[in-house]
Symmetry: C2
Subunit: 344 residues, 2 copies
DNA sequence: CTTCAAATTGCAACCGATTGCATAAATTTT
DNA sequence: AAAATTTATGCAATCGGTTGCAATTTGAAG
C-alpha cells in the first residue's frame, strides 16, 4: 500500500477478512454488529490511520450534514457572538457550517444564497442584509423543503421560523429611560425602515413619546446608514437643530459612539447637555467616555436557539413549520451616557 | 420525474440523447465538445434546474476544493479583515473555505486542525492561538502534502510559508515615536512571549530603548493576557510605579483602550502625563478619547496574499516550499494619544 | 439430535460525476 | 473516391461508503 494513499473501509475489510459492509456498520456502531468485531474494526481503523470519506458518504446518503449561515456582517460583536452560539450547537450535533456574509449588500446576499443552495446545505440560518428588498432568493430552499431559520433581521410576515428580540419593547424602554432622565427633546437615529429591527425600535420610540404626552414629530426620526460618515452628518444636524435635542436614542452602538465624539468636540457635556442610549452592548460601550447606556442583546443564546430549532427539525424531533416566532429577552443597561439622576 | 428529485447529468443526457460523459464535458466547457452541443446541454441544464453534485465530483476527483482557515479569534477587526481578503481570493478561484476558530485556546486549535484534516481540506491557512505549545497538530497535513500558509501569529522556525509584518520594526518604530515625543520612562505591555508577534515587538521595544541610550529594565516589560481584567491590573500597577512611567506601548488596541480608561479615571492626562501607543488600528482607536496612536496592519491585503500563495501552489503555478516568509508593510499612525509635539 | 429463532455477516446495487481509451462522424488530403 | 486526419461523442470503470435483503452462523428450545 502506498503511504500517500488513503485508507478505505475496503482496506480494513481485507486485512480483517470481513466485508466492507460490516466495516461500515462497525464504524458507526450499528447494533447488528457483534461487540468483538466492532472492537477489531475500530482498532484496525486507528492502526491504519483511516479517515472516513464524507463525499462518498454524503453522496450515498443524499445529505450534506451542513448548515448554511447567511450573515449581514462579521465586523460586529453581536454577530460573532451569535455565530459562537450556532457553532456550539451544530458542532455537538455533528453538523458543519458554511458561513457566508454579505457585507450588508442585498445583492451579495442573493449570490450567497445561490451558492449555499448549490452546496446543498441541509438547512439555513439567516439574518438579512441592510437593503435586502425581498425574500425571493429563499424560495428555492422552501421548494426543496430545506428549512430556514431567520434571526434578528427578519422579514415580518415571512414564512419560516424567526428568532428575535422584542425590538418594539426595547425601543420603548430606551426612550422611556431618556424621558425618565428628564430629556424633553429626544431624537431617534435609526436605519432602513424596511428592516424589522429598525422599524420596531422606531415604533417603540414613537409610542413611548406619545404615552408620555410628548409631541411626536417625524423630523425626530433620523434615518441613516448608521455608518461613520452618515452618523457624523446626522450628529452635526442635531447640533444645529433649534431647539437642540437633549436626548438621543441611537439604534446602534457604533453610530452612537460616533455621535458622542461629535457632540463632545462641539463642547457638549454628556449626559448633562445631551443624553445618549445605544443598542447592542458592543465592546466599545465600556471603552468610550462616558460609558454608553445600551440595550443588551443575548447573542450567544440567540445563536444557540436558532441552531437548536433547526437541528431538531432536521432530526425529525420537532417541526419547524409549527413554530413562528421566538422572542428572546433583552434588557437596558444603564451607564454614564444617559444617567442624569442617581439610581434609586 | 418526481418534482423533489434532483436532476443529474443522466437526466440531461437522456432528454438530449447524448451520453452522460458528453454532458459532463459540456458543462465544464471541455474543448472536445462542439459548440452546438454545449449550448444544448447548457440550455437543458438550466431548464431542468440542474445543480451539480459536489460530492460525486469530489469523490471522483479526490479533491475537495476547500481550504481550511484556522483562526485564533473572530472578535477582532484585524482578523475579520484578513478573512475578507481570503474570501475574495478563494471565491474567485472557486474554492470554498471552512472557518474554524479556537477562541485563543491551543487545545481547541488542535481539535479544529483534526476536524479540518478529516474534512480533507486541500490546504490550510492558519494563525496560531495565544497558547499553542507546538505545531505537532500540523504534521498530519505535511505528511499528506497538504500545503499550509501561516499568517500573523506564526512559529518562527517552522516549516511552511509565513505571511507576516515586521513586528520587530513596528515595535521599534512605536517605541522610537514615544521617545521622540519626549517620554523618558516607557513601558511595554505585551502577550505570550512564545508568540512571534509579541516577542518581536518586545525585541523592537528593547532595541529602540538601547539605541536611544535608555536603560532597559525587564520590569518595563509587562507580560499579560491582554484581556480586560489583566489590562486593568497592569494599568493599576503602572499607576503605582515609582517613578511613574510616562509612555506606554501596548501590543494591542483593546488593551491600550482599557489602560487609557484606568489612567484617565486616576486623573492622568493623556498624552501629557502619559503617552500611549497601541497596535492593530482597530475601530476603537478613533472612537475613544484621545484617539489612539497605533500600528496599522493591512489585514485585507494579508489575507489576499496568503490565499493567493496557497491557491497558486494548489494549481501548480508556484511551489510553496520555495517561499519562506513574506513580509507585508505596516505603519505607524500617529493620533492624539501620543502626540505631545506638533508634527513638523 | 432436530428445529426454529435470533444474532451476525455478506452480497450487490446504489449515489452522480469524471476520464482514459475506443469509436464514429466530419473534414481534408492525395 | 479512397485514405488520412481531425473533431466529436460514447463506453465503462472508478471514487468510497451505505443499506435492503439474503445467507449464514450461533444459540436456545424441544
Amino acid at each position: 500500500m502506498r503511504p500517500d494513499k488513503e485508507v478505505t473501509i475496503y482496506d480494513i475489510a481485507r486485512t480483517l477478512n470481513v466485508s466492507p459492509a460490516t466495516v461500515s456498520r462497525g464504524l458507526k456502531d450499528h447494533p447488528a454488529i457483534s461487540t468483538k468485531t466492532k472492537r477489531r474494526i475500530l482498532e484496525k481503523a486507528k492502526e491504519l490511520g483511516y479517515r472516513s470519506n464524507n463525499f462518498a458518504s454524503n453522496l450515498r446518503k443524499q445529505k450534506t450534514q451542513t448548515i448554511g449561515i447567511l450573515l449581514h456582517e462579521l465586523h460586529s460583536h453581536f454577530i460573532v457572538s451569535v455565530l459562537a452560539g450556532i457553532e456550539k450547537v451544530t458542532t455537538e450535533a455533528g453538523y458543519d457550517i458554511l458561513i457566508a456574509h454579505s457585507s450588508e449588500s442585498g445583492q451579495k446576499e442573493v449570490a450567497n444564497a445561490q451558492n449555499l443552495f448549490h452546496k446543498r446545505v441541509d438547512g439555513i440560518i439567516a439574518s438579512l442584509a441592510f437593503d435586502t428588498p425581498d425574500l425571493s432568493h429563499f424560495l428555492q430552499f422552501s421548494e426543496k423543503n430545506i428549512p430556514i431559520v431567520f434571526f434578528d433581521r427578519v422579514e415580518e410576515d415571512s414564512l419560516g421560523t424567526k428568532v428575535i428580540i422584542d425590538n418594539y419593547k426595547a425601543g420603548y424602554q430606551a426612550t422611556q429611560h431618556l424621558l425618565d432622565q428628564g430629556c424633553k427633546r429626544v431624537i431617534h437615529i435609526t436605519g432602513n425602515q424596511s428592516r424589522n429591527v429598525y422599524k420596531q425600535r422606531a415604533k417603540g420610540f414613537k409610542d413611548a413619546l406619545l404615552d408620555n404626552n410628548q409631541e411626536y414629530n417625524p423630523a425626530n426620526l433620523k434615518i441613516t446608514d448608521l455608518d461613520r460618515v452618515e452618523s457624523e452628518k446626522v450628529a452635526n444636524e442635531i447640533l444645529n437643530m433649534q431647539p437642540r435635542p437633549d436626548g438621543v436614542f441611537c439604534a446602534g452602538d457604533f453610530s452612537a459612539a460616533v455621535c458622542m465624539r461629535v457632540f463632545k468636540s462641539a463642547g457638549l457635556r454628556i449626559p448633562e447637555d445631551i443624553a445618549i442610549v445605544g443598542f447592542n452592548n458592543d465592546v466599545i460601550c465600556t471603552l468610550i467616555e462616558p460609558q454608553l447606556t445600551t440595550i443588551n442583546y443575548p447573542g450567544v443564546e440567540m445563536g444557540e436557539i436558532a441552531a437548536r430549532i433547526l437541528i431538531n427539525h432536521l432530526n425529525g424531533n420537532a417541526d419547524i413549520t409549527l413554530t413562528n416566532s421566538i422572542i428572546i429577552k433583552s434588557d437596558l443597561i444603564v451607564r454614564e451616557s444617559s444617567l442624569r439622576k442617581p439610581i434609586e
